[in-house]
């Protein structure tokens, strides 16, 4: 079973929920798909081993063969190639690796080489009994989605996989939640939290994935998030209270279920509830 933890907005507690859920379940995979800011391991401290680089292909031009016709620059939809008066200039960071320039070059002057944009790492830990897979986008790189897609190829279908998604509702979020069985949207009971929840619900509904909501920092703000969920018939799966103890544990990088073990059962119960929302899938995997 594959569960994504998402939210329209950053800072609502996605990583907290993902880490604590995986720890409560045990024998699970945790995939940190927030590749711009992977934070799960800050709470786990696993010894991560590099699995592979994430590469995309970028063009290289053989200036001996190039006739400066400019067809490559004209074709490129990403402005990654510019034709100057005496040469062709490449902007590898704008290149999406589509290979179009190679196809259009009449002189066969363009070949491709690999360029690393990020890395996939993995770690396990006997004590915690979970496997962490993490993708990290290199600093200064723009494209998160290829790192997310490659990270997800490591997903083990035979176990529960918890996916920590990036914030927002754009391409990287779609890449991380698209093939999931269920999506948990984490929000907070504030006007910002509600605004961003509504956007996230819109995306998840378009993708057709069953979903529910966790209200984090319950007790702060107002009731409009709960009211919205009631009107829209969205299940509120859990409420995590607004208490200083959880905020302080978080600041130190301690998953709160480790200090408040009663919460492990709450997370397991939530997972059982989730299984009931997923059609044609048994409870055996929870």
């Amino acid at each position: 079973m594959k569960i994504a933890i998402a939210s329209g907005k950053g800072g609502t507690g996605k990583t907290t929920v993902a880490v604590n859920l995986a720890l409560s379940l045990g024998n699970a995979q945790l995939l940190d798909c927030d590749v711009e800011e992977p934070n799960c391991n800050l709470f786990l401290g696993f010894d991560l081993k590099k699995q592979e680089d994430v590469t995309i292909t970028v063009p290289q031009v053989d200036s001996g063969k190039c006739s400066l016709c400019g067809k490559c620059a004209e074709f490129c939809q990403y402005n990654a190639i510019a034709k100057l008066s005496d040469s062709v200039m490449l902007f590898p960071k704008l290149c999406h690796g589509c290979g179009g320039c190679v196809l259009v070059c009449p002189e066969k002057a363009i070949t491709e080489k690999k360029r690393s944009i990020g890395v996939i790492e993995k770690g396990t830990n006997e004590q915690f009994n979970i496997e962490l897979l993490q993708g990290t986008l290199n600093i200064g790189e723009a494209m998160a989605s290829p790192v997310i897609r490659q990270l997800q190829t490591h997903m083990d279908e035979s176990t529960v996989a918890v996916v920590d998604s990036p914030p927002g509702t754009a391409c990287p979020v779609i890449a991380s939640v698209a093939d999931m069985d269920y999506c948990v949207l984490v929000t907070e009971p504030t006007p910002f939290g509600l605004n961003d929840l509504v956007l996230a619900v819109d995306v998840i509904r378009q993708l057709g994935i069953p979903f529910g909501v966790i209200i984090n920092r319950h007790g702060l703000g107002d009731n409009r998030v709960e009211e919205y969920c009631r009107v829209e018939s969205i299940p509120v799966l859990m409420k995590i209270p607004y208490i200083r103890e959880i905020a302080v544990l978080y600041s130190k990088g301690i998953p709160f279920v480790e200090h408040m073990p009663a919460w492990k059962e709450n997370f397991r119960e939530m997972c059982r509830d989730i299984c009931e929302f997923i059609p044609y899938r048994g409870l055996s995997q929870c």
């Binding site: 329209g8 711009e36 800011e37 934070n39 690796g97 290979g99 790189e141 998160a144 391409c171």
Partner: protein
């Protein structure tokens, strides 16, 4: 000369919009650009009255004319993004608009079509003009939309004779963050004293330095973990970054948000006075 200040955070939820909306209230001759186009929240506080709406077209997407298609499969085998399935149906979520399929199709059955991906707006607020946007749910090209919002904000600033563009940036370090900071005169990074806060601060500072943009830092919720606040100060000192302000852990930003106000308008307390001094400090760094 028009100056650009971008407020970013690496990590979400550190208080970027709380701070930017207060800057909007305190700045005397600024225009605001909400570039967190994925989760735009500034309008909840500034209550804009829109006077101009522009459609936003992201990347084009491929469209197959089924009447011309002979199911040869050339498009699917050339697509590097797995956006065309075995029935020659295009998954518009995966299509990156590269136009390779259009090029390889022997029947000219494929064309690239523009798709409206959102809108951006110019609005009046009680603190001056605001440029903001709405990206359609699940749409691509948020970096491009950020660039459009910034470009329109700069144009409007020149038209209205403003001196500063204050940009509320997105979280993360990728595409849209790079678009939000490119060419800025100063970046303010809002962080918090948590281990994830420090981690994300370090990453986003590296992004700003990669693009050679000067950085100042604000530590929000500084009293939730004084040891880590101290570590952040040391990190900043070692990297020659000015800590322009430290704000306490306080409920007043959320209370102000519920009234649809910025915290400096709503409260005259310790928190809001610290936000005022933060603005004075940031504004003087920007004027240098």
């Amino acid at each position: 000369m028009l100056k650009h200040l971008t407020v970013i955070s690496g990590k979400g939820g550190t208080g970027k919009t709380t701070i930017t909306s207060s800057f909007a209230a305190l700045a005397e001759n600024a225009i605001i650009a909400d570039c967190d186009v994925d989760a735009a929240d500034m309008h909840l506080i500034l209550q804009p009255e829109t006077f101009e709406t522009t459609d936003f077209y992201g990347l084009k997407v491929a469209h197959i004319n089924k009447e011309l298609c002979t199911d040869c499969g050339a498009c699917a085998s050339s697509c590097r993004f797995d956006a065309i399935d075995k029935f020659n149906v295009i998954d518009t979520c995966k299509c990156e608009g590269c136009a390779v399929c259009e090029f390889v199709c022997p029947e000219n059955a494929i064309c690239m079509v523009e798709k409206k991906a959102g809108e951006y707006y110019c609005s009046n607020t009680r603190f001056g003009p605001l440029v903001h946007a709405k990206l359609g749910a699940g749409e691509e090209a948020s970096g491009k939309l950020v660039s459009d919002v910034r470009r329109r904000a700069s144009e409007l600033a020149l038209e209205c004779g403003k001196d500063v563009v204050i940009i509320d940036g997105p979280p993360g370090t990728g595409c849209s963050v790079i678009a939000a900071i490119t060419g800025a005169d100063l970046v303010l990074v809002v962080t918090e004293p948590t281990i994830s806060g420090i981690h994300d601060l370090e990453r986003v500072v590296q992004v700003a330095q990669h693009f050679r943009i000067p950085v100042v830092v604000c530590i929000n919720k500084c009293d939730i973990n004084m040891d880590l606040s101290q570590s952040i100060s040391i990190y900043c000192k070692n990297n020659e970054i000015n800590v322009a302000g430290m704000l306490p852990y306080d409920k007043s930003p959320v209370d102000a948000m519920i009234y649809g106000k910025s915290v400096v308008e709503c409260f005259d307390n310790d928190f809001s006075s610290k936000v005022r001094s933060l603005w004075t400090e940031v504004n003087s760094s920007l004027s240098k």
